[in-house]
Symmetry: C2
Subunit: 457 residues, 2 copies
C-alpha cells in the first residue's frame, strides 16, 4: 500500500491533526546540530494512546516509517525522517495525569516538558531532577536516556523512569514496570525502552520518580589557572564523597562566549560551577570543604550564595551555554561531542581533547557535566566549508575512540541517533549486533525510527 | 546428537571438572524452598570465560539445556534443571579481578560471593552494598536482580551493576556497559541481562559500583503495639526523607522465632530494625528524628547503638530470619512470598496479608525490607500434607494479585524462576509476551535455563 493511502486513513482518524504543510514538514526534518534537513511526508498530532495505536496500525499496514517527536532538541539527528514516513509529534499529549506525593511519583503524558512538570510540582515540595538544559519533553528525554547537570546527585532517566506505556510496532500497547520501588519480575523492559530512541515503539505514558525539594540550596563558581587544576579539583571532590548536586565545567573559551552572550564578566579561564542540596548547615559545610579543595588546586576564591536570583542567573548562563557558543561564531553549525569516561581518566581525556582541538585550528569550546566524567566539545564549523565539517568529524571520531579506550563511552547522554552510529561497533563489538536482534524481534518490519541506533541490514 | 556425546566432549574439555556423581547432581537439583528435586544430567565447573564459551558451544550443538549456578540460594526454583541438561557451576570462577578505588568500581568473576568481595574490599575504605542476607554469588545476585536490607539507601543489583561479560546461547561472548558513570550509547543490555535469571546467557564477569564505607554507623531496634503502628512509622519515616540505610520489619511471630533460634529476649510484638550511615553527628540526628516518629506511633523506646558488636548481632539475627522461621516448625518447607507495593500501600498490604494468613490457619511469619515496600510471608507447610501446600500456594497467589492491584509486583527481589510464573501474565499482560520475543531472539533453541521466567511455547 502506498503512503498516500496511509495519509488518507490518518486524515480519517485525526482530521486536521494530520499536517502536510511544507513548513511543518521542514520543522520536523530539521536538527539542532549539523545534519541536513530530512523531512517526513506527514506530521500527525495524536491526543490519546488509542490514537497512537491506530496511527501505528495504519502505518504498519502501509509499511510506512514512524518517527516520534518530543521537543526536537536532540543532537544526533534522532528525529530525522531518514527514510521518509510519518512523524508523530506528541505536543498535544501534554497532561500531568497523576501526582502521588505519598509515593513520590508522577504519571505524565510524553509531551509534558520538564519545565512544565516542575512548574506543576512546585507546590507539592517535590521536583523532577533530570535537567538536560534544553526544555525537552519527558518522552524525548526517556527515549534518549537524558541526563544533565543534576545527574551527579539524582541520576539520569535510567534511574528516574519507573514505568512506561508503549505502543509497539504491531500496535500492541504494553505497560512496563510497576509503581513499586523495585521488582525482580522478569526482564527490565523499562530499562530496555529507556534510551531506545523510538526504535522499539512509541511512548504514550511515563511514570517518574520524584525527589523532595531540598531544604537549602547553595551554588557558586570559581576559576582555575588551567584545565588540569580544574579537573584535578573535580576528581578529588568526587573521590572525597562531597555530595554535589551539580558540578559543571566551562573552559576559557566558553567563559568568553558567556561574557559576550550574557554580558557577564567571568575571567577568561577554566571555571567550575557547583551546587549543593541539603540543610542550611550541610550545604554550608559542603561548600566549605569544596572551597578548601579549590584552594588546594590554586582556584580563585570560591564565591557561593544561597540566594535564589544568583543561582538562577548562574544556571541560566550554563543552560544557554550551547547557544552562547554557537553565537561566538556567527553562522556556524555545531558538531557536538559527548564523551564520558571513568572519573580517574577525566583529566587525561580533557587534556588530550584540548590538544587535539588546538591542533585542528577549529573553535571548540568545552563544557560539561564533569562530575559524571562527561563533557562536550562544541566544534564550530562553517556550513559552507565541507572541509571544516570533515575535520570536525575526524576530531569527534578521535575523541570517541579515545573515550572508548579509556573505558568510557562515545555518548554519555545525547544518544546515538545516526550521528554516533559510526562508533557503535567499536564501543560494543558483538553486543551491537545483539541490539539489532532485539530490534528485529520487536520491530521486524523496521518501521520504528529506521536508520537509527542499531546496525542497518 | 544425544547428551552422551555432549558429556564426552565436555570431559575432553574439562576433565575431572565434569561431574556425574549422584550427590553432585542432587545438590544441583535441590532448592532452598518447597520445589521438588530436579537434577541435571551433569555438572561442570569452568575456570575461564573461554571454557564457558566452549561448554556453550558443545551444549548448543547437542541441543542440551544449560543452567547457571552461583551459590544456589535462590528461592523460586531458579536453578533447577526442569528439562535436564548441564548445570554450569561458577564456584571456581571466584577471583576479584581488579579493584579501582579512584573510580569506585571493581571487576569480579561471577562466583565471588558478596561476603568474599567485602572481605577483599575492607582495607580500601569501599564496600559493595547489596545484601540479600544469604551469602550469594555476585553472578547469581545479578541474575535475580537481588536486593536486600540496604537497598532503601544504595539500590539493588539494577543500580550497582555497571557492565557484564556474557556468553550467549550461540557461544558469542559480549560485553555490555562501560566503566563510565552513565552512557546513552544504545539499548541498555546490562539492565536487560540483570534479572534475566540465566535465560539469555551465562555471565562470566561483572563490573560493579562500590560505595565509600560510612564514617559512622548506628543501628537500633524498637517494638510496636501492633502491625499498623509499625507500618505507619515506616511510611512516615520514608516520606519525611530521613536517610535510612536499612529499615526491616519483623512481626510478632518472627520475633518469637528469633528468640527461640538465637536466644534473644525480644518482646513478642512487631519490631523495626534500622540503621543509619553518615557522620557521627548526622547518624545521631537521624536516630533522634526517627525516635520521635517511633514515639508518635506508640513504639517502645528506640534503643540504638554505634557499637559494632551490637550491630553485628542485630543483623546476624535478621539474616538468620529465614532459618529461624523454618526452625519454628520442625520439618516444614517454606512457600516464600515476596510482594512489593508503593510505600503508601504498605499498611494496607501487610494488614490484608496478615488477615489472610490468620484465616488460613497456616503459620506465616512476616518480615521484610519495608523501606522499599517489600515484605515476605514465610508460609510453613508440612511437606507430607499436599493440602497444606495447596493452601499456601492459594494464599501466595492472593497476595500476588493484591500487590499487583495496588500498583506493585509479585516479586520485589527473589525473581520469577518457575515459582512465580503463574503471576507473570497478570502482572505484565502483553509485556510478558514481549519478554518471550526477546528471549527467542537471543536464544532461539531455548537452551538457556528453559522453563523459567518467559512464557513457554
Ligand atoms: C542546548 C541544548 C542542551 C542540551 N543539553 C543536554 C544535556 O545536558 N543532557 C542531555 O541528555 N541532552 C541534552 N541535549 C539534548 C536533548 O535536549 C536531549 O536529547 C533530550 O532528551 C531530547 O528531548 P526532546 O523532547 O527534544 O526529544 P526529541 O528530540 O523530540 O526526540 C528524541 C528522540 O526520542 C524519540 N521520541 C521522542 N518522543 C518520543 C515518544 N513519545 N515515543 C517514542 N519516541 C520518541 C525521537 O524519535 C528521537 O529519536 C541538549 C540539547 C540542546 C539543544
Ligand atoms: C535465607 C535467605 C535469604 C534471602 N534473602 C534475600 C534477600 O533479602 N534479597 C534477595 O534478593 N534475595 C534473597 N534470597 C534469595 C537469594 O539469595 C538471591 O536470589 C540470590 O541473588 C541468589 O544468588 P545465588 O548465587 O545463590 O544464585 P543461584 O541460586 O545459584 O542462581 C540464581 C539464578 O541465576 C542463575 N545464575 C547464577 N549464576 C549465573 C551465571 N554466572 N550466569 C548466568 N546465570 C547464572 C541461575 O541459573 C539461577 O537462575 C534469600 C535466600 C535465602 C536462602
Amino acid at each position: 500500500m502506498p503512503i498516500a493511502q496511509a495519509i488518507d486513513d490518518l486524515k480519517t482518524l485525526l482530521g486536521e491533526r494530520v499536517s502536510l504543510s511544507k513548513s511543518d514538514l521542514d520543522a520536523h526534518g530539521a536538527s539542532e546540530s549539523y545534519f541536513p534537513s530530512t523531512p517526513p511526508q506527514a506530521v500527525v498530532y495524536p491526543r490519546t494512546t488509542e490514537e497512537v495505536r491506530d496511527i501505528v496500525k495504519i502505518c504498519a499496514k502501509a509499511d510506512v516509517p514512524m518517527i516520534g517527536w518530543g521537543a526536537g532538541t536532540s543532537l544526533e539527528g534522532h528525529g530525522q525522517a531518514l527514510r521518509g514516513g510519518v512523524t508523530v509529534d506528541f505536543r498535544h499529549m501534554n497532561r500531568v495525569l497523576e501526582i502521588r506525593p505519598a509515593d513520590m511519583d508522577v504519571t505524565v503524558q510524553p509531551g509534558v516538558t520538564r519545565e512544565a512538570l516542575n512548574e506543576e510540582l512546585r507546590a507539592t515540595g517535590l521536583f523532577f531532577p533530570v535537567d538536560p538544559g534544553a526544555n525537552a519533553s519527558l518522552g524525548g528525554m526517556a527515549m534518549t536516556r537524558a541526563s544533565g547537570t543534576t545527574t551527579v546527585r539524582y541520576g539520569s532517566m535510567r534511574d528516574n523512569v519507573m514505568g512506561l506505556e508503549v505502543v509497539l510496532a504491531d500496535g500492541r500497547v504494553i505497560r512496563t514496570g510497576t509503581r513499586a520501588r523495585k521488582s525482580a519480575a522478569g526482564y527490565d523492559l523499562t530499562a530496555l525502552m529507556v534510551g531506545s530512541e523510538g526504535t522499539l515503539g512509541l511512548v504514550t505514558e511515563l511514570t517518574l520518580r520524584l525527589h523532595g525539594q531540598p531544604e537549602a540550596v547553595s551554588a557558586g563558581i570559581c576559576a582555575f589557572p588551567d584545565m588540569n587544576a580544574a579537573t584535578a579539583c573535580v576528581m578529588e571532590t568526587i573521590q572525597m564523597g562531597i555530595p554535589l548536586a551539580r558540578i559543571e565545567f566551562a573552559c576559557a573559551q566558553t567563559a568568553r562566549a558567556f561574557n559576550a552572550y550574557a554580558g557577564t564578566d567571568m575571567a577568561e579561564a577554566p571555571h567550575l560551577m557547583v551546587e549543593f542540596h541539603g540543610s542550611p548547615q550541610s550545604t554550608e559545610q559542603d561548600a566549605e570543604r569544596f572551597a578548601e579543595i579549590v584552594a588546594d588546586h590554586d582556584g580563585s576564591a570560591f564565591r557561593w550564595s544561597a540566594r535564589e536570583e544568583e543561582r538562577r542567573a548562574l544556571w541560566a548562563m550554563r543552560h544557554n551555554g550551547y547557544y552562547a557558543i554557537l553565537a561566538s561564531r556567527p553562522g556556524a553549525r555545531a558538531v557536538v561531542t559527548d564523551i564520558c569516561v571513568p572519573i580517574s581518566r577525566l583529566a587525561q581525556a580533557v587534556e588530550a581533547t584540548q590538544a587535539d582541538i588546538a591542533a585542528s585550528g577549529l573553535p571548540g569550546p568545552i563544557l560539561g557535566h564533569v562530575g559524571d566524567g562527561n563533557f562536550h566539545a562544541i566544534l564550530l564549523v562553517d556550513p559552507d566549508q565541507p572541509a571544516e565539517l570533515d575535520k570536525a568529524k575526524d576530531l569527534a571520531a578521535r575523541m570517541a575512540t579515545r573515550a572508548i579506550q579509556l573505558g568510557g563511552t562515545c555518548t554519555g547522554e545525547h544518544g546515538v541517533g545516526y550521528g554516533k552510529l559510526p562508533f557503535m561497533q567499536s564501543e560494543h563489538g558483538d553486543a551491537w549486533q545483539v541490539m539489532g536482534s532485539v530490534k528485529t524481534a520487536l520491530d521486524p518490519q523496521n518501521l520504528m525510527n529506521p536508520g537509527k541506533l542499531v546496525p542497518s541490514n
